[in-house]
C-alpha cells in the first residue's frame, strides 16, 4: 500500500540553509495532509498541516506547499537548525474516511550539519 510516498530516505543540509522535503500521494480522496517530526525513542510530533482547499500554509520556519494537480506536497524549513535533525513523516487522510485514519509515508531522515 503505497498511497503516500517519500522517495528520499535521507537529506543532509547545512545549518542556516533551506531543507526541502517532498511527498507524493496517489489517492485523490486525500484532502488533509500533515507533517510529523520524530526523534529517536519518541513518538511522532505534529509539525504543520494543510487542507486541500489551500496551497500553502506557513508556521514560523516551516511552510508546507500543496500541488493538488501533481498530488505532491513539500515541507520547507528555513533556516535549518541542528535541532531540526530528525525523521520527518508526511501523512494524509480523507474526509470521506470519517474516522480519520492517517496514511504515512516512509519518512525522510534529515541531518543538519553545523
Amino acid at each position: 500500500d503505497q498511497q503516500v510516498k517519500q522517495n528520499s530516505p535521507s537529506l543532509s543540509v547545512q545549518e542556516g540553509r533551506i531543507s526541502i522535503l517532498n511527498c507524493d500521494y496517489t489517492n485523490s480522496m486525500f484532502d488533509y495532509f500533515l507533517w510529523y517530526k520524530k526523534y529517536p525513542a519518541e513518538g511522532p510530533t505534529f509539525l504543520i498541516s494543510i487542507s486541500s482547499i489551500k496551497d500553502k500554509n506557513e508556521d514560523g520556519r516551516f511552510t508546507v506547499f500543496l500541488n493538488k494537480s501533481a498530488k505532491h506536497l513539500s515541507l520547507h524549513i528555513v533556516p535549518s537548525q541542528p535541532g531540526d535533525s530528525a525523521v520527518y513523516f508526511c501523512a494524509a487522510s480523507a474526509a470521506a474516511d470519517s474516522w480519520g485514519k492517517l496514511q504515512f509515508g516512509a519518512g525522510t531522515q534529515v541531518v543538519v550539519t553545523p
Partner: protein, 116 residues
C-alpha cells in the same frame, strides 16, 4: 502542554503470551487510535475508537487484537497470543472532536514490544 502517555515504554514477552499496552490520551480528546511501526517500515494504522466502540480497523487488527477504554482516562490495546511478527513500536494517538477537516492527531512516545 497536554500529552499522550504510553506505558510501558518497552515490553518483552514470550510468543503466545498476552500483552496489554496502555495509553492515557489527552483529556478532552474523543477519538483514539493505535498505530504500529515495524522496524524499518512505515507507521501503519491499526484501529480507531470513538464513543466507546471501534469505528474502523485495518486488516492487521485481527481477532488477536482488542481495544478497550475501561475508564474515563485509559485506552488499552490487548494482543491475546503474541507472535514474533507482532514485534514493533506501538503508538497511541488521540484527537479532539470537531471538524474532520482538521484531522490533527497527537501521538504518544510509543511502546516497544519485543516478542521472543
Amino acid at each position: 502542554e497536554p500529552e499522550v502517555t504510553q506505558t510501558p515504554s518497552h515490553q518483552v514477552t514470550q510468543m503466545g503470551q498476552e500483552v496489554i499496552l496502555r495509553c492515557v490520551p489527552i483529556s478532552n480528546h474523543l477519538y483514539f487510535y493505535w498505530y504500529r511501526q515495524i522496524l524499518g517500515q512505515k507507521v501503519e494504522f491499526l484501529v480507531s475508537f470513538y464513543n466507546n466502540e471501534i469505528s474502523e480497523k485495518s486488516e492487521i487488527f485481527d481477532d488477536q487484537f482488542s481495544v478497550e477504554r475501561p475508564d474515563g482516562s485509559n485506552f488499552t490495546l490487548k494482543i491475546r497470543s503474541t507472535k514474533l511478527e507482532d514485534s514493533a513500536m506501538y503508538f497511541c494517538a488521540s484527537k479532539k472532536a470537531g471538524s474532520l477537516a482538521k484531522n490533527i492527531q497527537y501521538f504518544g512516545a510509543g511502546t516497544r514490544l519485543s516478542v521472543l
